[in-house]
C-alpha cells in the first residue's frame, strides 16, 4: 500500500473529495464531557429507569458478531454493537452513527469515514480505525465463517480498505458502488484488543471465540447495553451502558432503560400468553390475533398498532429450467401468457381474508410497499379475473375440453404439482387456495407440502420440481436481492446459474442490476429499479401473493413506541412513563 504512485493517486483523489453528510447545525449541538459530538436521537425526551421485558423464540447461536448470521444471534448482539452508518427507520435515509461523517470522491470509488471522537468500548478503550480494519481483516480471513465478505465483495472484487489516521478509514472499490452506505456502512466494528489473539490462533479458533459459552461480561461492545448474563433457553439480561455516546434532545445521555430482559420462550403461543399475563412488554401479534387484541387493549393495559407492512414476500414460482422439467411442461412454464393467466386466476382477496384475517394487501411486484423509497406502485396488476385468465390461456393455444380439462396445443392435459414447506400453516393454506383457483381453469393441480430441507435441495440442487409456494425475507436495498434476480444467481430460482440470460427480459434485468450497482445517485438508482419492477410484473417469473401487515402490541406504561417498517422502536429512547418494574 505504500507505493509512491499510489500515494500520488490518493492525494489527487483527496483533492476532489465532496462532503456528503454532516447534518446542519442550527441548534446548539449537545455535548458530553467525554464525547464532544454525541449522536442526537430524535424522540420525545423521557425519564430514566425501568426494565423492558421482551421475548425471543430461539436461543442465540453465537455472541461473535462477525460469525453471527441468524436474527436469533444478531438481535441480542444489536444492543452491544453499532454500525458505522445506520438507516433512519422513519426516513430510511442513511445517517451517521459510529462514524460522524463521511466523504466520497467525485468518481464514487473512494469513501472516507471519520469515527466519532470519544466513543469507547465498555472497558474504556477508544473505538479506533484499528478496530474497523481488524473487523474487516477478520471477516475476510480464510475459513472465518462469515457472510460479511458476500456484502463487502463488489462486482467480484474484495473491497479495499486502509487506515488514514486514528479516526479516519478509507474504502476503495473498483467501480462506483451504489448501495455502499447501506452495505459497507452497516459494518459493526469489534474490539481488536479483545479478539486479536483469537484470530491469530486461526480461523477455526476465531469462529468459536465469543461463543454462547463465553461469560457475557467478556463481550466488549460499544452499544447502549451491556450483556450481564445468559442462561441457556431461559433469558438474557442487559444493563445500561453508562458510557454510551448518544443523547436525547435535552442533551441527556441515553439510553433511558436501566435493564433489558430477553425471555427465551419455546414458541409464539408462549410469547403471547406471557404478554397477556403482563410478564412481558412487547408482542408481535399475528394477523389473526389482531381483532382479539384490539378488544383486549383496555383491560390488558396495552396498545395494538395497525402496524406497517413487512419486507418479506410469499410467492408462487414455476420451474423454467430445462435441466429440471421437460416439455410440454417446460413449454407451458416458459410461456409468459401461461404465467400471467395463473396470476389472474389467483384470488388474492380470498388469501387475504382466509389466511391473514384481512391484515394484508395484494402484491404485484418484487418490492414490498414497506420499502417506501424503492417501491414502484405503477406496475402491471393482476386482479382476480378468471375470464381474463381463460382468454390469456386461449391466446397461448390452450383449450378447455368437454371434460373440463385444460389441454395445450399438443393435446397434453395441463397437470403439475405445487409444493411448499410442510409445517408452515400460512403457505399450506395459500397453496390449497391456489390449487382451487387453478383447478377452476381446468388445470389438474396436486398440492404436496414437503420437508423444508427437501424443498431447498430441489430448488438449489436437483432442480427437480414443477411449482413451489415459498417466501423470501426482504430488506431496503434491492441490490441485496441480486442473487435472486441476476440470471447467474444461485437463487434465481426458476432457472439458476444460467450461462447466458435465457430471455431478453432476464438480460435486461441483469443490465439494470449492473447499472444500479455502479450508480451512486440514489434517484437514478430508483429509476433503474423501477424498471426492474415493471419487467418482473410484466413477465411474472415470480407470482406474488400479498404483503402482510404487522400488528405490534406494546404495554401502555412505555413511551416512544412508534412502529416503522424497519423497526418498531429505538431501544435507546424507549422509556417508562410511570415507574414500573
Amino acid at each position: 500500500m505504500g507505493a509512491p504512485v499510489l500515494r500520488m493517486v490518493v492525494m489527487l483523489l483527496a483533492a476532489c473529495l465532496v462532503v456528503v453528510s454532516p447534518v446542519g447545525a442550527q441548534t446548539p449541538r449537545p455535548s458530553l464531557p467525554d464525547v464532544p459530538n454525541p449522536k442526537l436521537v430524535e424522540a420525545e425526551a423521557g425519564r430514566f429507569g425501568g426494565t423492558l421485558v421482551v421475548t425471543s423464540i430461539s436461543d442465540p447461536r453465537t455472541f461473535n458478531p462477525i460469525v453471527a448470521q441468524e436474527t436469533s444471534s444478531t438481535t441480542p448482539l444489536g444492543y452491544l454493537f453499532e454500525s458505522l452508518a445506520e438507516t433512519n427507520r422513519f426516513t430510511t435515509e442513511v445517517e451517521p452513527n459510529l462514524a460522524e461523517s463521511w466523504t466520497v470522491s467525485r468518481d464514487g470509488r473512494v469513501w472516507q469515514f471519520k469515527l466519532r471522537q470519544g466513543v469507547t468500548w465498555y472497558d474504556g478503550r477508544p473505538v479506533t480505525v484499528d478496530d474497523v480494519i481488524f473487523t474487516l481483516d477478520a471477516a475476510f480471513a480464510e475459513g472465518v465463517q462469515s457472510s460479511l465478505p458476500d456484502v463487502l465483495t463488489i462486482a467480484g472484487k474484495k473491497i479495499g480498505y486502509r487506515k488514514i489516521d486514528d479516526r479516519t478509514v478509507e474504502f476503495r472499490t473498483e467501480q462506483p458502488f451504489g448501495p455502499f452506505l447501506r452495505t459497507v456502512g452497516g459494518l459493526q466494528p469489534v474490539p481488536k484488543h479483545k479478539l486479536e489473539a483469537a484470530l491469530r490462533a486461526g480461523a477455526a479458533e476465531f469462529n468459536r471465540t465469543w461463543g454462547v459459552n463465553t461469560p457475557p461480561r467478556e463481550l466488549i461492545g460499544n452499544g447502549p447495553f451491556i450483556m450481564q448474563s445468559y442462561t441457556p433457553s431461559q433469558r438474557i439480561i442487559y444493563t445500561r451502558n453508562s458510557r454510551y455516546w448518544k443523547v436525547d434532545r435535552r442533551g441527556q445521555r441515553l439510553p433511558y432503560l436501566a435493564r433489558i430482559v430477553i425471555e427465551i420462550v419455546p414458541n409464539l403461543d408462549a410469547a403471547r400468553l406471557k404478554f397477556q399475563a403482563r410478564e412481558t412488554d412487547v408482542y408481535g401479534a399475528r394477523p389473526r390475533e389482531y381483532a382479539e387484541f384490539a378488544r383486549l387493549q383496555q383491560s390488558g393495559n396495552f396498545t395494538i398498532f395497525d402496524g406497517p407492512p413487512t419486507f418479506g414476500t410469499e410467492f408462487l414460482i414455476f420451474n423454467m429450467n430445462p435441466a429440471g422439467v421437460r416439455p410440454p411442461k417446460l413449454t407451458w412454464f416458459q410461456n409468459v401468457r401461461f404465467r400471467q393467466a395463473v396470476s389472474h386466476a389467483v384470488d388474492r382477496d380470498a388469501i387475504i381474508r382466509q389466511v391473514y384475517a384481512g391484515r394484508a394487501s395484494p402484491q404485484w411486484g418484487p418490492v414490498s410497499p414497506a420499502n417506501k423509497f424503492f417501491f414502484n406502485p405503477n406496475v402491471r396488476k393482476y386482479p382476480h379475473d378468471p375470464a381474463r385468465a381463460e382468454a390469456l390461456l386461449r391466446e397461448a393455444g390452450f383449450t378447455k375440453g368437454a371434460d373440463g380439462l385444460l389441454r395445450d396445443s399438443g393435446g397434453n392435459v395441463v397437470e403439475f404439482t405445487i409444493s411448499t414447506n410442510a409445517g408452515n400453516a400460512d403457505r399450506e393454506a395459500i397453496g390449497n387456495l391456489v390449487r382451487q383457483d387453478l383447478t377452476r381453469l381446468g388445470m389438474r393441480v396436486t398440492f404436496v407440502p414437503e420437508h423444508f430441507n427437501t424443498l431447498v435441495g430441489k430448488l438449489t440442487g436437483t432442480f427437480n420440481w414443477e411449482a413451489i409456494v415459498i417466501g423470501l425475507t426482504g430488506g431496503l436495498e434491492p441490490h441485496n436481492g441480486q442473487n435472486v434476480w441476476r440470471s447467474t444467481g444461485s437463487l434465481h430460482m426458476w432457472w439458476p446459474r444460467q450461462e447466458r440470460p435465457a430471455t431478453d427480459w432476464e438480460a435486461e434485468i441483469d443490465r439494470l442490476f449492473d447499472q444500479a450497482a455502479t450508480t451512486v445517485d440514489q434517484s437514478k438508482r430508483k429509476q433503474l429499479y423501477d424498471r426492474w419492477q415493471e419487467i418482473v410484473a410484466e413477465q411474472v417469473p415470480v407470482i406474488y401473493f400479498t404483503t402482510t401487515l404487522t400488528q405490534p402490541a406494546f404495554r401502555n406504561t412505555l413511551a416512544n413506541f412508534s412502529p416503522a417498517p424497519l423497526a418498531f422502536y429505538d431501544i435507546e429512547t424507549i422509556y417508562y412513563r410511570t415507574p414500573y418494574r
Binding site: 460469525v67 457472510s147 458476500d150 454462547v212 442462561t231 433457553s233 427465551i264 410478564e279 438449489t460 437463487l491
Partner: protein
C-alpha cells in the same frame, strides 16, 4: 454379580457402536443438511455455504465422517455444534441438570403416590375408591402430556396462580438461596404434575394388578390363617413380592430420565435437554444429535442394569451367575 455387571457393561460397546452407526447413516441419508436454511438466504453466496460445508467436514465421504466422529467420541470429544459454535458437551451439560431435576422430582413424586394408591386399590378391589382410582388412571394414561401441559398452562394463565412456563422468574438472580429454591419449585408445579400424573396412572394400575395376583397365592392364605394381621400380611409378605416387576419398570424409567420429557419441555419452555435435542434434530445439527443419542442409549442400558441389580437385591431367588 460383579462379573454380570461387567459383562453387561461390555455389551454396551457393540450396542453403542451399532446405534451410533445406524443413526449416523439415517441422519445423513435424510435430505438436506444443516446449511439448507442458509442456501435460501439471498445475501449468503453459495461459495460461502460451500466453505462452511468444508469447515464442518460435511464434504467428506460418509464413512470418513463417521470414523472421524467415532475416533473423537472415544476420547470423549463429541465435537462442535454446527449451530452454536460451542462444544457439544457444553451445550448438553448446560441443560442436563435442568432435565434431571425435573425428571427426578417427577419420578419421586409419582412413585411416592402411585405405590400406596396401588396397594389401597388392590386391598379394596371393586370398592368405590378403587373404581374411581381406576377411572382417573384411565384418564391419566390416555391424556397425552402435550395436551395436559397446554391445558395447565392455560389454567395458570387464567388464574394467575402459577407462572406461565419457564424454570425461573426474571428476578431469579436477585433472590436469596431459599427464594431461588421456592421460585424453581413454583415453576415446577405444572411440569411435575403433568409428568407425575401420567406415570402415576400407569404405575398404580401395575401395582394394583401385581398385588391382586400375589394376594391370591397360597402363602398369603397361609399367613392369614396363621392369624397374622391383615396389614402385616399385605405389607410384609404380599407387597414385598408384588413390587418386583415394578423394579424392572423403575430401571426403564431411569433410562428415560434424560429424554422422556422432550415434548413437555418444548411446550412449557423448560430449559432442558429434550428441547435441545428436538431442536437439533429438526435443524440437523449432526453432532448434537449423535452425542445425545449415545448418552440416551447409555443411560437406558445403565438404567436397566440398575433395575436388575435392585431386583436381585430385593428378590433372593434371582441370581445372575
Amino acid at each position: 454379580m460383579l462379573q454380570h455387571i461387567l459383562r453387561r457393561l461390555l455389551n454396551l460397546i457393540p450396542m453403542v457402536l451399532g446405534i451410533s452407526l445406524i443413526s449416523f447413516i439415517v441422519i445423513q441419508l435424510s435430505p438436506g443438511d444443516f446449511l439448507a436454511e442458509m442456501r435460501l438466504n439471498p445475501i449468503v453466496s453459495p461459495e460461502t455455504v460451500d466453505q462452511m460445508r468444508v469447515n464442518f467436514g460435511l464434504d467428506q465421504p460418509l464413512h470418513i465422517q463417521y470414523l472421524r466422529w467415532l475416533w473423537n467420541a472415544v476420547r470423549l470429544d463429541f465435537g462442535y455444534s454446527f449451530a452454536f459454535h460451542v462444544p457439544v458437551m457444553w451445550l448438553i451439560s448446560s441443560r442436563l441438570a435442568n432435565t434431571l431435576l425435573l425428571n427426578v422430582v417427577a419420578l419421586t413424586v409419582a412413585w411416592l403416590i402411585a405405590i400406596p394408591l396401588g396397594i389401597h386399590a388392590a386391598r379394596r378391589q371393586y370398592s368405590w375408591s378403587d373404581n374411581s382410582l381406576s377411572f382417573a388412571a384411565y384418564v391419566g394414561i390416555s391424556t397425552p402430556t402435550f395436551f395436559s401441559g397446554l391445558f395447565l398452562l392455560y389454567w395458570a394463565f387464567r388464574t394467575g396462580w402459577l407462572p406461565i412456563g419457564g424454570m425461573t422468574s426474571i428476578d431469579y438472580d436477585l433472590l436469596p438461596w431459599w427464594g431461588k429454591i421456592l421460585d424453581v419449585a413454583h415453576h415446577m408445579v405444572i411440569p411435575v404434575l403433568v409428568l407425575g400424573v401420567f406415570s402415576v396412572a400407569g404405575l398404580m394400575r401395575q401395582m394394583r394388578a401385581n398385588l391382586l395376583e400375589v394376594l391370591r397365592h397360597d402363602y398369603v392364605r397361609t399367613a392369614r390363617s396363621k392369624g397374622l394381621g391383615e396389614s402385616t400380611v399385605v405389607n410384609k409378605h404380599a407387597v414385598r413380592n408384588a413390587i418386583n416387576p415394578l423394579i424392572t419398570i423403575f430401571g426403564f424409567e431411569l433410562g428415560g430420565l434424560l429424554g422422556g420429557s422432550a415434548i413437555l419441555e418444548t411446550i412449557i419452555g423448560w430449559p432442558g435437554l429434550g428441547r435441545l435435542i428436538l431442536e437439533s434434530v429438526i435443524q440437523k445439527d449432526l453432532y448434537v444429535v449423535m452425542a445425545s443419542l449415545v448418552i440416551g442409549s447409555v443411560t437406558l442400558v445403565v438404567g436397566n442394569l440398575i433395575g436388575d441389580i435392585m431386583l436381585a437385591y430385593a428378590d433372593p431367588r434371582i441370581r445372575y451367575d
